[in-house]
């Protein structure tokens, strides 16, 4: 199977890259470019969540880091006058710092506790944003956020698209590198068996915190990018919906794989926008929920495992013809 996979990577990645680079040239529609930008940001966000899940920690409150990155970047840009191109990384650093704090309370916890704490955490951050931090955050009304590139720049939307595409690729590259490195191995070891990992000299607490920091950082970048792209920021960014999207994307695509978040995000975004075109409102979420549950039950390795699955199924069919029909259909 390795050779098939290698071939898929060898041709697949350049093909997708070429498509991603060419899309804005192929279409004049700013609607589609805008959609692609949001999709790329979702890919960063989903990949960030996936990295944390890779270390065995399932967060249900990643909207917290998305929102913290966005707010921190906006506030820093507004107070210091720095360009958003710079502050997205500073805002993300704030998210990473908060991520470490949350990680510290969670590292020793079992899966359920971790999910509960993170789930609650996003709500609490939202509460604090609209209450204690209202003078900075503008409360429920929100605050305007400076654009990544000035709208007076000719073709700024395309520049923005390529900039975000670059960040997305850099993120995926970094995650690929982390997964292949000793750090990634340590994450895997902790996820599979903490006791054995400890016996092998891996400090689970340190690596869990590292996973939290990295994941929160990338989620913060995604949040800052999204908000500087849209140009306005409200506390709805902290909503549970934003915590659940990356989970849905990653589960559908394939948990713990590099391509999973990308595939899941692209497929679900297409489905989502398709359903939107039919005028559905609540029904869309119901369909997404059904897709998620079906994927968990019937395709636990996600869409990335689908080609293997189909190939195996075909092979099995070739080897074991259905009894009774074997004589009639030789070599089917």
């Amino acid at each position: 199977m390795v050779s098939v996979q290698d071939k898929r990577i060898q041709y697949g990645i350049p093909a997708i890259l070429a498509l991603a680079l060419a899309v804005p040239v192929l279409t004049d529609s700013m609607f589609i470019v805008n959609l692609l930008v949001l999709m790329l940001i979702s890919i960063i966000f989903a990949s960030a969540w996936n990295l944390l899940a890779y270390s065995g920690q399932g967060s249900l409150g990643h909207a917290a880091f998305l929102g913290i990155g966005a707010y921190a970047s906006t506030v820093i840009a507004a107070k210091s006058g720095l360009s958003p191109l710079l502050t997205i990384f500073l805002g993300a650093a704030v998210a990473a710092f908060i991520g470490i704090l949350i990680g510290l309370t969670c590292v020793r916890l079992k899966e359920w506790f971790l999910a509960m704490v993170t789930f609650g955490f996003a709500i609490i951050v939202q509460t604090l944003t609209v209450s204690v931090l209202a003078p900075l955050s503008g409360g429920w009304d929100g605050i305007p956020s400076p654009r990544l590139f000035s709208a007076s720049l000719p073709g700024y939307q395309l520049i923005e698209y390529y900039f975000i595409l670059f960040i997305t690729l850099a993120t995926l590259g970094a995650i690929w590198y982390i997964m292949k490195s000793r750090i990634g191995l340590a994450f895997l070891a902790i996820r599979e068996n903490e006791l054995e990992a400890r016996a092998a000299g891996i400090d689970p607490v340190r690596y869990r915190l590292l996973a939290f920091a990295l994941s929160a950082y990338l989620a913060g970048v995604a949040g800052a990018l999204q908000i500087h792209h849209i140009g306005y920021l409200t506390p709805e960014l902290f909503g549970t919906e934003n915590s659940f999207w990356p989970v849905t994307f990653v589960i559908l695509g394939g948990l713990g794989t590099l391509a999973g978040p990308v595939v899941g995000t692209v497929v679900l975004t297409v489905i989502w926008e398709g359903l939107k075109a039919t005028g559905m409102t609540f029904g869309r979420y119901v369909i997404v929920g059904v897709i998620l549950i079906l994927a968990i039950i019937f395709l636990p390795q996600g869409l990335v495992s689908l080609p293997e699955k189909i190939r195996e199924w075909l092979k099995r069919r070739q080897k074991e013809p259905v009894p009774g029909t074997a004589g009639k259909q030789p070599g089917s």
Binding site: R108, W112, F113, M116, V117, F244, T248, I251, F282, V286
Partner: protein, 292 residues
């Protein structure tokens, strides 16, 4: 009002709020105890219970306190279907899977409810609203007294069910040792369905008491009480029903105390503060068993 009656008032409000949390957290714990599954969509069953009660009330005008029976029965059925279709196929395939599955359920149930009932905030008026009972220096709404009594009755009923009936004892056995229970001939899958249904029925009871007390509800109402229920079961220990009761009361008291002394915005945030303090001091909860 003097200091004493203010404190008394806070305690009373705390107990009333605690009742709803206790029912929700007990249901979660019941399901966890038997199936070792944390149902993150538990708040959604509270919401369905609330809507069933409200809908029947709007249609028939019957006493909403009586509709609680109907609502609980309906949720036993819905819970059993959800367990059979969603949780059973993935039981034992990893705890993260169960958590992610709950997210799918949240999507489906919240938005399904929004399709049926719309997403506007609604409320109903209890037939006893406006009637107050003097307790010491306080005049407390009759509804709150009824809610406390009903919670006590439901919990006593649950206690008797678990201790005296065959199914209840089978549930306890399954919760203590699943393999052992199988060996002595208990159909653990049937027990799973029953526990999940009962847990959902308790959530429906919580939802009914929520709407009857005049609080507003909409399809997305379930998340906040569910988070508090999580905090309670962490506080009281995963799987411990006495822990859920004490934790629920403490949570109700802390919440109302915080709202009074620190300001209304802390009402929801305090549960999280408590949660973090407890987790830092005692990661298994106050009354929790160690590990699995």
């Amino acid at each position: 009002m003097d200091e004493f009656s203010v404190i008394l008032q806070i305690i009373f409000w705390g107990l009333y709020a605690g009742c709803i949390y206790i029912l929700l957290a007990t249901g979660l714990n019941l399901i966890f105890g038997v199936m070792k599954v944390v149902n993150f969509a538990h708040g959604e069953f509270l919401m369905i219970g609330a809507y069933i009660t409200a809908t029947v009330f709007f249609l028939t005008g019957a006493n909403p306190y009586l509709i609680i029976v109907l609502s609980m029965l309906a949720l036993i059925g819905i819970g059993a279907v959800v367990e059979r279709l969603c949780f059973r196929p993935i039981l034992g395939t990893g705890k993260l899977n169960e958590i992610f599955l709950s997210i799918g359920l949240i999507y489906i149930i919240q938005n399904g409810a929004a399709m049926i009932w719309g997403d506007a905030w609604q409320s109903i008026k209890s037939p006893y609203s406006g009637i107050t009972v003097p307790i010491g220096p306080l005049a407390v709404p009759l509804d709150y007294v009824i809610i406390m009594v009903m919670t006590a009755v439901i919990l006593c009923g649950l206690y008797v069910f678990l201790k005296k009936t065959t199914i209840g004892m089978q549930m306890q056995a399954t919760s203590q040792n699943r393999k052992g229970a199988m060996l002595v001939g208990i159909d653990v899958e049937r027990i799973d369905v029953i526990s999940f249904g009962l847990g959902c029925a308790l959530a429906a009871a919580a939802g009914t008491l929520w709407v009857v007390s005049g609080q507003v509800f909409n399809p997305y109402m379930g998340s906040i009480p569910a988070i508090k229920a999580f905090a309670i079961i962490i506080l009281g220990g995963l799987g411990s029903i006495p822990g859920a009761i004490i934790g629920g009361l403490l949570m109700g008291l802390a919440e109302n105390g915080a709202a009074y002394f620190l300001g209304g915005i802390w009402k929801d945030a305090i549960s999280f503060v408590i949660l973090i303090i407890v987790l830092v001091i005692r990661p298994t909860g106050l009354f929790g068993e160690k590990g699995e």
